[in-house]
């Protein structure tokens, strides 16, 4: 009966209840949209990191990353690469030679990471070809071609076919240089990486480094994101002398972002619901004030405090949860639409977005896995909102309430 009474009570003032339910729905829509946007941004960021930056896993000589000394090649790299490629979970594996050096043009110089790649494989493993905004992929015939990021090209005033010199140390510690010509300018969603990384053909870098057919890095793409930890353990057992790192370790800032953004989005959700709680409290206080005599009469008749509290709590829950399905449905609709169409945030500035490693078009994803948490926040809001009105109602003395 208390349940029925609570339900009917909220419809005594239809307009007031609908307004509060709508405000909950709008608040929830805003909160869930933020969650969906973050979810989409994070997934796109992680996808970028995996698909076009570092892959799922990377293998190095255990000493290589200490100071990127080119001497520390992957021993028996070719054999390891073949083994890795043969593993059923592995989708793609590619080798890279790496040198830390200086890029010099007639107008200036900049420190860069020189990646010696096998073009055909690199195009698949880091989608390098897809990122080209000017020029063309490596020509299989032409020699000494280089691909530079747009940010670096801008900084060094490089254009297509510009000449530049790369200087670095070889495995014997000697300074070596090579002249290259810009074949393509690429742009990824991560401007800092574009500024730092240049790509040359491995066949041309290795002789300069003095490592011939060896290489420093194996980049692995898996068929399934969830298999990263398992594969990392497996590879580490198989090749204990190598350093096996997952994308989380190679790009810790992305991992941190993914971990913290969940907390941020819940905090935003909490703030939205907290401000809505004031509206609910106000509505419930008004309802209690209007029904002072009625509540006093109920207590006089023998309705105990638990039942009065329950009635007010249920009313608050109904008011709060009444707007919840609407809010969730609108959020789902909006998310589904923008998930297909994409949400173009280029107005916020492509450079700014890419400086944080994000693309300008975000595909929000309905955060289905977070809905339980959202509902918990909503229920918590309802509970907290009912406390003040309930205390007010419980403090009513029937003899005084009946006089009103």
């Amino acid at each position: 009966m208390i349940f029925i009474m609570a339900w009917r009570n909220i419809w005594r003032n239809k307009m007031r209840s609908i307004v509060i339910m709508l405000s909950i729905a709008i608040g929830l829509f805003a909160g869930v949209s933020v969650l969906a946007l973050y979810e989409g941004m994070m997934k796109s960021r992680v996808r970028n990191v995996i698909d076009s930056e570092v892959g799922h896993l990377q293998m190095h000589n255990i000493k290589f990353k200490e100071d990127y000394d080119p001497r520390y090649i992957l021993a028996n790299g070719a054999g390891v690469l073949t083994t890795v490629k043969g593993m059923p979970e592995v989708k793609l594996a590619a080798s890279r030679s790496i040198a830390m050096g200086m890029l010099a043009t007639p107008t200036g110089s900049a420190g860069v990471q020189i990646n010696g790649v096998i073009p055909g494989l690199e195009y698949q493993v880091s989608q390098l070809q897809r990122k080209i905004i000017q020029g063309r992929p490596f020509d299989p015939v032409k020699k000494n071609e280089i691909m530079v990021g747009q940010k670096l090209a801008k900084k060094m005033k490089l254009k297509l076919r510009s000449k530049l010199v790369l200087t670095f140390t070889d495995t014997s510690g000697n300074m070596v240089s090579g002249a290259f010509r810009v074949a393509a300018i690429y742009q990824s969603d991560n401007a800092p990486l574009d500024e730092k990384n240049v790509y040359v053909n491995m066949e041309e870098l290795n002789p300069l480094l003095g490592i011939q057919n060896a290489f420093h890095e194996i980049v692995i793409l898996l068929k399934n994101d969830a298999a990263v930890e398992k594969m990392q353990r497996e590879l580490q057992q198989k090749f204990p002398a190598y350093q096996i790192e997952s994308w989380r370790e190679i790009s810790p800032e992305t991992d941190l972002l993914v971990k913290t953004v969940d907390q941020y989005s819940y905090i935003i959700m909490f703030i939205i619901m907290f401000s809505l709680a004031f509206g609910i409290v106000n509505t419930m206080l008004m309802a209690i004030l209007e029904r002072t005599r009625e509540i006093g009469m109920m207590v006089a008749l023998g309705t105990n405090h638990v039942r009065i509290f329950l009635m007010i709590f249920l009313e608050t829950i109904f008011l709060t949860l009444g707007g919840t399905p609407v809010g969730l449905f609108i959020s789902w609709l909006a998310t589904a639409y923008f998930n297909k169409q994409g949400l173009d945030l280029s107005g916020m500035g492509r450079e700014m977005m890419s400086s944080f490693g994000f693309g300008t078009v975000i595909y929000p994803e309905f955060p289905a896995d977070k809905i339980a948490g959202v509902l918990l926040i909503v229920a918590g809001t309802a509970f907290v909102s009912c406390l003040l009105p309930a205390i007010k109602a419980l403090k009513l003395l029937p003899v005084e309430a009946l006089r009103r």
């Binding site: 009966m1 009474m5 005594r12 005599r293 009469m297 008749l301 023998g302 309705t303 039942r307």
Partner: protein
């Protein structure tokens, strides 16, 4: 044991800090089972206050109220709520039905609070609505009922859980003559059929005439009680 209400030396004082006003002053009251008693007096004479004290809605500043030999002035707030639920039926002056419940649900409400089985509840509701002659209005909301009909439902609700007694504060105050007489007839009939004690405050002469005992309050004191007169008459008749 036939004594239902036994008030000893009961006083209630307002404005204790400034100018004390005795709403009820040293009242002794003794009501037996099955009585149909009117508490009369002018406005401000303390009728409602005395009913509130007897009903456990308020606590006296002095004295004790025994209901079935239990001193209710010693009960805690929660114990009083439970006591009222199980022992007292209330009919208030304004039509205090719960507006969101139907007439039937209003009557059933008290029994639900007492966890009475559905079959028992249903039977009792049917019986009460027959007694108040409103079987056709069971599903109506209070707003769809006239004032008199609402008060009849309130009486049915007060009797639903077969309380020890019913306290009615000015039950006919807002009713026209016809509705008032109708309500009094029903109360008298239920008093007779169910042997439930009725104590009601009123300054309505129509009600006073129907009461079998009339207690008059003036300035918080009982100035007359027809019980003594009746007893004398009964003795004379013998």
């Amino acid at each position: 044991m036939n004594t239902v209400i036994d008030a000893h030396n009961v006083s209630k004082v307002y404005n204790k800090e400034t100018i004390p006003v005795y709403a009820v002053n040293n009242v002794h009251l003794h009501i037996e089972r099955g009585e149909f008693t009117a508490l009369v007096g002018p406005s401000g004479s303390g009728k409602t206050t005395l009913l509130n004290l007897i009903g456990g809605l308020d606590k006296p500043d002095n004295g004790s109220v025994f209901i079935n030999e239990l001193d209710i002035t010693k009960l805690s707030t929660n114990e009083l709520i439970d006591f009222r639920l199980k022992n007292i039926g209330f009919v208030f002056q304004s039509f205090n039905l719960i507006p969101v419940l139907t007439a039937k649900e209003n009557v059933e409400f008290i029994m639900l609070l007492q966890h009475i089985k559905k079959s028992v509840r249903d039977a009792r509701v049917q019986q009460l609505f027959r007694q108040i002659e409103m079987s056709d209005k069971m599903d109506a909301r209070p707003a769809q009922l006239s004032g008199g009909q609402q008060q009849r439902v309130a009486v049915a609700r007060a009797l639903a859980s077969r309380p020890k007694f019913v306290l009615a504060d000015e039950p006919t105050a807002n009713l026209d003559s016809k509705s008032a007489f109708n309500l009094l007839d029903i109360m008298a009939k239920l008093n007779k059929e169910e042997h439930i004690t009725f104590l009601f405050s009123t300054h309505d002469q129509r009600v006073i005439e129907r009461a079998r005992r009339v207690i008059t309050l003036v300035d918080g004191r009982i100035v007359s009680d027809t019980a003594a007169v009746s007893t004398r008459h009964e003795k004379a008749d013998v």
